[in-house]
Structure formats: structure tokens, C-alpha cells
Symmetry: D2
Subunit: 393 residues, 4 copies
Amino acid sequence: MSFQNPVFIPGPTNIPERLRKACDMSTIDHRSPLFGQILSPAREGVRKVLKSDNAEVFIFPSTGTGGWETALTNTLSDGQKVLAARHGMFSQRWIDMCQRLGLDVQVVETPWGEGVPVDRYEEILSADTNHEIKAVLATHNETATGVTSDIAAVRRALDAAGHPAMLLVDGVSSIASMDFRFDAWGVDVAVTGSQKGFMLPAGLAILGFSPKALEASRSAGLRRVFFDVQSMHESYAKNAYPYTPAFGLLNGLNEACRMMLDEGLENVFSRHNRIAEGVRAAANAWGLDLCARSPELYSDTVTAICTPRGFNSTDIVTHAADAYGVAFGVGLGEVAGRVFRINHLGSMTDVMALCGIATAEMCMVDLGLDISLGSGVAAAQEYYRMHRNSSGA
Amino acid sequence: MSFQNPVFIPGPTNIPERLRKACDMSTIDHRSPLFGQILSPAREGVRKVLKSDNAEVFIFPSTGTGGWETALTNTLSDGQKVLAARHGMFSQRWIDMCQRLGLDVQVVETPWGEGVPVDRYEEILSADTNHEIKAVLATHNETATGVTSDIAAVRRALDAAGHPAMLLVDGVSSIASMDFRFDAWGVDVAVTGSQKGFMLPAGLAILGFSPKALEASRSAGLRRVFFDVQSMHESYAKNAYPYTPAFGLLNGLNEACRMMLDEGLENVFSRHNRIAEGVRAAANAWGLDLCARSPELYSDTVTAICTPRGFNSTDIVTHAADAYGVAFGVGLGEVAGRVFRINHLGSMTDVMALCGIATAEMCMVDLGLDISLGSGVAAAQEYYRMHRNSSGA
Amino acid sequence: MSFQNPVFIPGPTNIPERLRKACDMSTIDHRSPLFGQILSPAREGVRKVLKSDNAEVFIFPSTGTGGWETALTNTLSDGQKVLAARHGMFSQRWIDMCQRLGLDVQVVETPWGEGVPVDRYEEILSADTNHEIKAVLATHNETATGVTSDIAAVRRALDAAGHPAMLLVDGVSSIASMDFRFDAWGVDVAVTGSQKGFMLPAGLAILGFSPKALEASRSAGLRRVFFDVQSMHESYAKNAYPYTPAFGLLNGLNEACRMMLDEGLENVFSRHNRIAEGVRAAANAWGLDLCARSPELYSDTVTAICTPRGFNSTDIVTHAADAYGVAFGVGLGEVAGRVFRINHLGSMTDVMALCGIATAEMCMVDLGLDISLGSGVAAAQEYYRMHRNSSGA
Amino acid sequence: MSFQNPVFIPGPTNIPERLRKACDMSTIDHRSPLFGQILSPAREGVRKVLKSDNAEVFIFPSTGTGGWETALTNTLSDGQKVLAARHGMFSQRWIDMCQRLGLDVQVVETPWGEGVPVDRYEEILSADTNHEIKAVLATHNETATGVTSDIAAVRRALDAAGHPAMLLVDGVSSIASMDFRFDAWGVDVAVTGSQKGFMLPAGLAILGFSPKALEASRSAGLRRVFFDVQSMHESYAKNAYPYTPAFGLLNGLNEACRMMLDEGLENVFSRHNRIAEGVRAAANAWGLDLCARSPELYSDTVTAICTPRGFNSTDIVTHAADAYGVAFGVGLGEVAGRVFRINHLGSMTDVMALCGIATAEMCMVDLGLDISLGSGVAAAQEYYRMHRNSSGA
């Protein structure tokens, strides 16, 4: 495996130089004022990326999975009911976590390749007149299928049903690469990790809590200590941490937010959209379907591409690594062997995307698929040419 | 605060160049075989550092606090009884965690500055003929007081009482800098973090589980998902992780183990002993008592030094940072204002220790204590001269 | 300009992670034995890369230009005659240096795009019966035109003429990426720099001296102090340097040699050939001529591509930087505006090359050239597919 | 040798983190505008550090030795006369270089430990009524003896004699750590390197040329190409370099200047004075003389300490490396075996200096000198305590 080629796995993503250096710190005293100069702007930067005025940002030395656990254990009590849709590996894992934590999950089975079934959510919420459902779970971007769900619509479903349940959103593979509107969408808890849109090494769970979610954390009965947001909240007030912080990653997070805010959030999002459109143009040129079933579901951070029946899509991933030193994502769960995934989340340029497309193309030809070399590249080139921005970034 | 001076806080500790570079990795595919080449030797290295043949090593993207939670939630069930001694801030915090997790803690109040009260443990265990106590907690090195407890004696107490309780040991500020004998001492769970003896940034909880503890994890009733050792165990069997690993830190851990095994574990331990003896000689020359009440309790990784009555020891720490750019540890909890701490855990040389001693000396004189400049340094120099090893390391 | 995209300038080249870290050293005492442990294997590694048993390797804190000056001033005296061909910007610059140093250069004017005119050299040398020509200069790889000359043939010309002149070879953009046979070709001085085939930052002039050249340095009359090989020679004997060495770069050089010797020199060369063939296939697909006039002259490290008359080739380079954040080489001197250059020297993979080809393609279409998007990429893909090695490196 | 201890050799000096990262760059196109954004402020920063309004700053990928050669070859012609004093190893080496370059050096033999003999210079210059002396050489800080000479007085001697010779100053171990007044002192060429006061790795020769010196470079007859300031001058005008620049080091130089200008040049100089005073207080407490013969000659960047007759001072340096992993400077040339040197040039704090003093003390006691442990440390501590600044830097 070459360390020179970019990676195209849907996280951890490619880490820019500037962030590599920001993370690689010599030891500081995390009880000194210097630590506050790292922590505060990092939390503030995340808040801006979430487009929230009121969210309290929590950052744990953990991962997105720890973020999910933080979201659940700080807002819910043993046996409480939550509503969730299963439409991909990551929504499935979150449901599994709920069950292991002793929650009562009402699962809406949804085809993989579809988004959160908003109409079904609304029906269920409307029918729940006793408000037994305490939280609604939504996976903003299903990394397994390359499907982006409409969180604003989930909020509208809650509102239409007049339902007070909290809205917990998995934004692990969307936040910081796609538009995310914590306040406008009435999100109560948003979850992500450092190694995705924030372009850092894995090691941080990053969450936003609404005032309502923070209030819930005072009485939530599920037991937690490490992931307790109240302990964090109290420590933050003193510019401190309840245990040893990963200050290098926090410093990197601070710098990552600065990079994105300097580029402009809307520019970051449109760059991801442009790159994704190129990848989709390539798939179209290859005559391959996306796993996402309709254009409004297409993810701007990861594209899951279906391979023809009888072909094992995992072979593309194995072959790309072996023959060309390039890492793609395999299909997971229900779509294992049926899709492969090209990531364009995080730090990515048009030119990097082209080398991923070119490699996928070679692999598919090597493995006998009826694909013309250069066809996908040409389609993406055309898109990038016509939509390039001037900065070359 | 100067970034050029070493830090003397009891973790995070100074990070050697070699480990800085090992941690600072470009992104790899953690599902590729390359990851196994990092994970396996890292786990194997930790096992050797623990001096165990049978322990299963678990490494979580978390901290020592997460390690404690892992130890408890994977071995115990709601309301079960555990035995613990409170004799410093970190033993107190572990007790607090037990209580928050719903365990029934039998607390043995012990003066801060004393070690684990082994005789009292034996009495209690002997009296517990129904074996209601499921786990015995012991803090190997109380970082707050600079006290090392005798874990072999705790094991003997358990054996003398014929008690089957598991032995859970907090080795956060001892493991990898002091002798730790997982197998010989019959430890069931050992806990540490990356930012202490392993000389790495914070971000990993590192644990050893005995076969008995691993067996307990199959039925332990406390809920956990992120910290579940069974999920880890299953993933490790496939050279994988149940979620995104912090592979940079794992790579650093692998390298840290290699560094220590190259130096020789006994050499690492005797280096820490030598450095500590020098610091203690300095304290003695200053006419100041240690917080640890007797020589057999003296810690080779952190020295807590008592300041005279009426003097606020925290002033030393504040002044050292402000006037000389050097970080020491403050007194915590019951000994706040009464002790200050010089760390010698992790990556440390005699020469680095001398600059810590010299700085503390200047600070105490600046703040009006009746100390002769150079006196503590001279005492430490004499010790280092007479006990130096040839490598100069 | 994006820092994430690879560069395609013909030096400095892309620096692998491993070499970045090897160069980035904390300060050591260059008079300690440690320095010898860096210097000796670095010099030995270079000797192996040069395929020489007898060359003495000299490494100066300088650049390739300093290397040229070292080659000339240590072997020649004021007013002495040298033979050289002008067939590109770098051979021209070397001739210019000779003249500025007071040498009498017999210049063979040669079309840019041609190699060293071996037959003409032989005629001149045969005619020089008094052996007034003291040195023959040859540019192994003209970076400006992408032309590789046949150094073995130059040696045969010298031998055929029975001429004792020394053979000084500019291997700046060939050594370590192309086969170079110091001993077999009877080279007397070979010159390169750190920032080309050795994949390091600029800052080192690297030379091999034959015993004959070293002997010449005892009496060579051109004045030099900094670049004096005798001073170096004497210092090396004591594992030292005549002034402060750039030990970080030397450490990097050591590591670079190890990387290449681990990969296998022949594998390194065939990788560069494969990548170059792909780039040439792309140029052919675009219907564009190479600056190099015939296949045996084609360089495996840099390809200079002619653009159609009336088109300013520099626009491609400017546009690639502005629109796509990718750096190519402009045409220099006589071929300014007429060629642009794609570098494939140093650290490069097939996949990286594809992203350079794809970018060049977009630029040419953007600028109105009649090129089909994807055509060059497809031609290169086909070549890479059919000639890939198994390592994916 | 430990990589954790600071070094106390008189260059290369300890490199701050911030500069390590600034130097460690990925490859950029040095023909792109980005390069100008590094080069221009770096040159401007050096000009400010030199306290000059008019100097043109030249930066070569070389070392201080290359800087000397640049100074001489660009201002002088074959056989021209220069005036120089020999009073240490580095003034001796510069004289030696003059002779090797064919200059006619009038050497004023001066005891090692003395400064530039200003009165003797004035006599000689006054007597040189034909103005045959074209340049006066002065070593601002003799690194071998720890002697700082009075350059302002050299200028006064030139003026008193009404002599038009150029004033060439070796500021290798003074510039950026001691006050240097290019304009006020009428310096024509000032020379230094990156690895001293600028706190960077070796690899850059850094020079200031007065308009008069630059004018001289148009007609100076000594041959040079690599070190030609006219070629540099022309390239700088296009934000370019005549050959491949070491842009990482240039970026580091830019950052180093920024660091020093942020700290305040006068603060940098007073910090070095304070640290030096502490080292001298230690030597005094040890009862050892300095090599510098009188207080006005004492260097604030390096202290050369005389050991008693019959004792080989080099043993201290060897023993410090072997037993404690600390690097000091040996005596060189005439004072070999008679002095050892503690460097305090470049990046240094009071606390770091104390660890050097403490180590030297241990070594001397180990080797049988009649020194009290702690005595030198106490003297330095007292000085640092009484003169500390508030920033702790």
C-alpha cells in the first residue's frame, strides 16, 4: 500500500498537512490557561460549523460510536422508547446500540438505498398520542449506502405530529462536508467524529446538544460516567476537562474549523457537491447504478456504486489495494458484495477525485467488467471543467 | 509558557521525538492488512510490559478514566459489591465512578499519604464469607500523593481470605515506569492510559484482562457498548476494530513498547527509581517531608512534597509557570495547597529532573521559603553521579 | 495552490512521508559518533545507487548547481579546455558556468530535443591529439527537453579516440530514478542533488568522484574552499565535516537510499519507465509530439510535450495552477512557450501520474486545444493495467 | 545520547517546535507566487534583525563557511589585500580561506581570548595611505573563545584612519542573539548561518550587503557562480532563485524572524545576556576563569571556561555525552584541552541553561576537579531569580 496515494475510504479521510502539524503537539499542561486557548475556539468553531447559536458543543476523547452512546445515555432512561429507521449499516448499528443499552426501539424497516422514511415517521409520531417515544433517531448520511436523508423533513414530521420527542441525528459522515443546520432543523443532539468532515485522525467524538437535550441530561437515567455531558459541562466552565484531554486533536479541531471558516462553509459544501457530481457522472458513464435510489438522496460525501449481478464488488476494493495501492470502501451488511464506495468526504480536490475514478476504472476493466477506460474520467473531467472555481483548492 | 522546557506534571508526560513521529501518520485503511501489523505487536508489546502470558490486552480510543469504566462495566452487574480504599484523589474518583454506575462500594477510609490498607482488606474479605464482594479495587500508584501500594500484598490478602473476588488495579501512573506483574500478582484487570508511562499523547485506555475477568465479561450486567471488551475481542480476532481505531496512537504504542523492551524493562524501572531517588534527596535537602508517609510507599513516578504550614503550595506551581515556564502538579483534594508534585513518570532523564529540581528551588526561594539555592540540586546530583548508568539515556 | 495534490514539476519532487520524518531531526552534536552513523551509510547508499565500487561520494550542503561547480573547480585549472554540448537549458547553464569560471569551453551546438552528439564528440576528441581537452561534459538527462543521452556511448567515444579527458556527467534529473552505471560507463564525476531522484528537499549537492578525478583534485587550479573535495575527504576520514553538516538531510538521504535499495534499484528504474510510458502514451493519444526527437532519447523522468504552433504552452502551466492547483513545468529557453513538462522523477505512482495526465487534459481542453477528455488517461491506464506490478507501490 | 536533553554546543542550536514545523514542508513549486510569499518576508525579517534600512539580504543554500566565501569572492579580486586578526579558530579559518582564494592577508596575531585589536587595526589602516587594503575582516563573536569584539570600534578605527576599505563581519555566532547594528556600525558585509541565532537546521548562509559592497560585486574579480550575489539579486527581483531554493528552510527563517520580532529584538538580546550572566556566575562560583580575558569581551552567546592546568578539558565534553547524554563544545585549536564551552546561543531558557550548568558540575566532580556540587547552579539560580522577566519564556 502506497502512502503517497490519497485514500477513498469513507473515513478516516485524508488529513491536510496543516492539520497534521496542528495535531502533533509537544506536551502542555492541560490545567494551564493555554489549554483554554485551544478548547474554547475549538468548541466555538464546531458550533459555527453546526450553524447553531445555542448548541453546547461536547468533545470526548472517543469516536463517533462513543458519540452515539453519549447522545443516548445522556438523554434517555432505561426502557424508554425511541424511533429509528434501519436503512444501512450505520443506522443498524445505532439501533443495535439502543437495544444493548436497554432502550425500546421501534424500528422502521426501510430498504437500503432509501432515506429516513419521513412519512412513516410522521404516522408513527402522530399515533403516539401518549408521547411514549422519547427520541427520534435519524442518520443524516448513511455511509454504507451513500444516502443523505432530509433532516428538515424529519423535523417537520415531528412538528406536524405535535410530538415533543428529541431529535438525535447521526451526522458522522455529513457534518463539516455538507450543510447541517442544527438550529433551523431543530436538532437536539448531533453526533460526529474527528476523522470525517473535520479531516483529522480518529480520536474525538464531537456533539452538539440543544438546551432541551442538555436539560434532559440532568434526569436521564442511563448510566454513564466517561460520557457524561454534565461533568464535561462543569469542567468546560473552568476551561478544563474532567480527565486528560487529547489536546493535540483539540488543537487540530480548532485549526480545522478555522480552515473551513476561512474557505467559507458554503464553499466547502459546494466543493463537496461538485466533486460528488463528478463521481456520479463517472458512474453514469460506466452504466452503473448508485445504491441511492433517487437523485434527492445522493450523498455529496460518499458514493456507493452498484456492480452488475454476479460480480463481487469487494473484488474491486481488494484489487485496487493490491494492484494500485488505492483504498476504496467495500459494501457492508445487506449490500456487501453488491456495491463499492468512493469516498469524497473531508479533504479532497477535483484532481484527487479523478485519480480515484481512474483507479476504479482500471480495476473494473482488470476484473472483466464492460467499461471503457477513460469514460468515467472524461465525464468527471467535463463536470469539473465546467464547474471549477477559481481558487484551484 | 515555554515549549522548550520539559513538563513535570504527572501526565501527560514528555513525548520522545520517536513517538511523536510514530503517532503522526498519514491516513491508512484500517480494514487493510497493514492495520493488523500495527495492532498485533502493540497489543503484544503491552502484554510484555504487563509481564503477563495470559492477559488479553484491550485498547480503547479513550483515556484512563474510560479504562476504569471498562474495567467495572465488563466485570460487574448492577448493585454488586466492591471493596475500595480512599486515600487520594484518584482512588476517590474511581470510587465515585463505582457509585455512579450503581455499584455498592465498601469504602475503606485511609489517610492520604498511606497505601492500600492491606490488613484491613484482609479482615473485610475474611469476614465476607458469602463472597458478596465481587471485586477488589486497588490503586497501584496514587498520583495525588505519590504513594505506591503493594499489589502483591493485596493478592496475598485475597488468597489468605480464600476470597474469589476479582482484583482490579489502577496502574495509570505506574505501568511502564514501575514494575508491574500482572500474572505474578494475580491481577484480573489492569488499567492505564497512553499519556503516562507509555510516553504518548492522551487518547488510549489500555487494559489487561485475565481469563477470569474476560469470562466475567460474558455475564457482567452493567451496560456498555463502546467499552465492551467482547466486541473488541471479536474484532481483534479479525485484526480489526469494532469502530474506527486511532491507528496513529496505536502505532505510537507499538513503538513505545519497542523502545522500552529495547532499553530493557528492568532498566526502565531502575532509571525511574534513580531519578526518583534524586528528587527525594532534593526534598530531604530542602527539609521538606513527602506526602507519602514511609519509604516503602515512595513512588518512583511522582513525588508529592509537603510545604510548610501556612504556605500555599499551589503558589509554587503558579509561579513556576509564570516566572520560569515550567509546569509542576498542584495538590488535589485533601492535600490541595499542602503539596506540590514533581513528576518523573514516562520519558525522563537525570538531567531533565535536575532542571525541574532547580526550578522548584528557585520558586520556593522566590516565595520566601527558607531553602538554600543549589541545595536540592546538589543532593540530586550526588545521587545521580553515584548511580549513573553508562548509556547516558 | 492545494498542498494535497502531488506536484509534477521536474524537481523538487514529491517527498514521501518516511523521508519527511527522516529529515525532520532534533539537533544532534555533529562531532559525536552519532553523526558518523548517519554520514557513512548515506555515502555508502549513494555509492550503491551509482553502481560504483570505487567512487568516493561527496555531499555538500548546496544544490545541483553547487555540484556542477564542485565538479569543475576540483578537476580543472584556469583556462583549461572542456568539451560540452548545448542542447537544452541545463547543459547551457553548465556551459555558462564553465565560462564564468574561466574555462575554455568547446561548445557543440546541438538541436534542443537531441541528445549528446556522440559522433561529433568522437570526432573532436580524435582530432585533439594534444589532449588539450581536459574534461568532457555530458548531461545525462536534459530536464528541459526530456532527453536522455547515452553516457555509455560517450565513454565509447572517449575510448575510441584514446582520449584521457575526464568524463563529467550531470545526472541531476536521472540518478536514482534511471539506471546510472558510474563504473561501467567510466564516469569520473557524477553530479546530482537531493531534491530529484532522492526524493528529498533541496539542500544537498551529491557527487561521485572516480579515483582519477580525486587525484585531479590535488592539483586542480580553480580556486574553491567551500566546495573543496580534499577538505571533505579529510574530514570524512574522521567521520566529520569541514563545517556544519545538514544532518537532517543526510539522515534523509540515508533513508532514501535504504528505501530504494529495499524496493530494488531495477524495480525503481522499471517503475519510472512504466510511469513514463504511460505519460508518453497519453501524449500520443492527444496527438502531440514530444520534444525528444526519437524514442531512444525519451526520458523516463520527465516528459516535455510540444503544443501546436500558435499556442503558448506556458498557459497550460499557469492554468493548471490557477484552476486545479496542480504544478507542471514550463518550457525553458529555446523551447519556452512551445513545450510543457510533466515530471515523473522521484516519488511517483501510476495513480499519481494519472491525476497529472487528467489535469493536463482538462487544461488543454479548457484552453481550446482539440483534445478528447479522457483520451490520454485511457491510453495511460491501458499501459499501467498491462504492466502493473503486484505491489501497488 | 538522549534526544530529550537540550544541546549546549555552539551551533547547531536547539530548534523550537514552531521552527521544526515551519521547515518541514511538502513540496511547492518554487516558480509559483507562493514562493515569493516565503522569500520576501524572510529577507525582510533578516534585514530587520540586522537593524538595517539599506542592506540587501542574500540567502544561499549553504552554511556560514559558504557565507564567508560569498563575502570575499563578491567583493574582492585576486591578490588584493585584506586586514584580519587571528584570535581564535574561526577567525583563523576565515584567514585560511582568504589565503586559499588567493588574497593577500595582513594577519594581526592576537592572543586567543582577546578581541579584534582595534588600536592595531587603526595604526595599520592609517599607515596604509595608498589604500591597498580593500577589506577589513572582523569576527564579531569568536565562537572558539567566547569573545565578543567591538565592531563599532572597528568602524571608528576605519573612520579615524579615513580609510575606504570595506568592513566584512563574521556574525555567525552573534547575529539574532546579540545586538548587531549593520547600518550604525557601517558594516559592508555581515555573514551568518541558519543554525545559530536563527535557531534553524544548518543549510543556509545568510548575508547582508551594503550598497557599497553590492557595487563592489559588479567588478570583484574572484570567480564564483554558485555564490554570485548578482545572480541572486537578479533572481530576487523576479521573486525567484537562480537555482532550486531550500524553501523549507526559508520558510523557517521567515518564521524565526517573526518569532524574534514578536518577542522583541531587545528582549531576545537581554534574554541571552541574562542567561550568559548566569553561566558566568556559575563559572565564577566554580573558581574557573573564562577564556575571554576581560568582562567587556564576554560573549552572551557562548562561554568558554578554562579548566585547571594538567586537566584535559575535552574529558568533560566526552564524559557529559557518555554519562549524561549532554553535548558541550570542546576547545579548538590553541585552546584545545584547555577550555570547554557551554553554548547559550539561539533557543534557550534559563531553565535549560541550569540543566547545562548542573551537568557540567557533575562532570567536573566526576573527573576529580575540586568543585562543590550545586555551587554553580546556585550562583546561576540567584542571577536568574533576580533578573527574571515575567513571561517565563
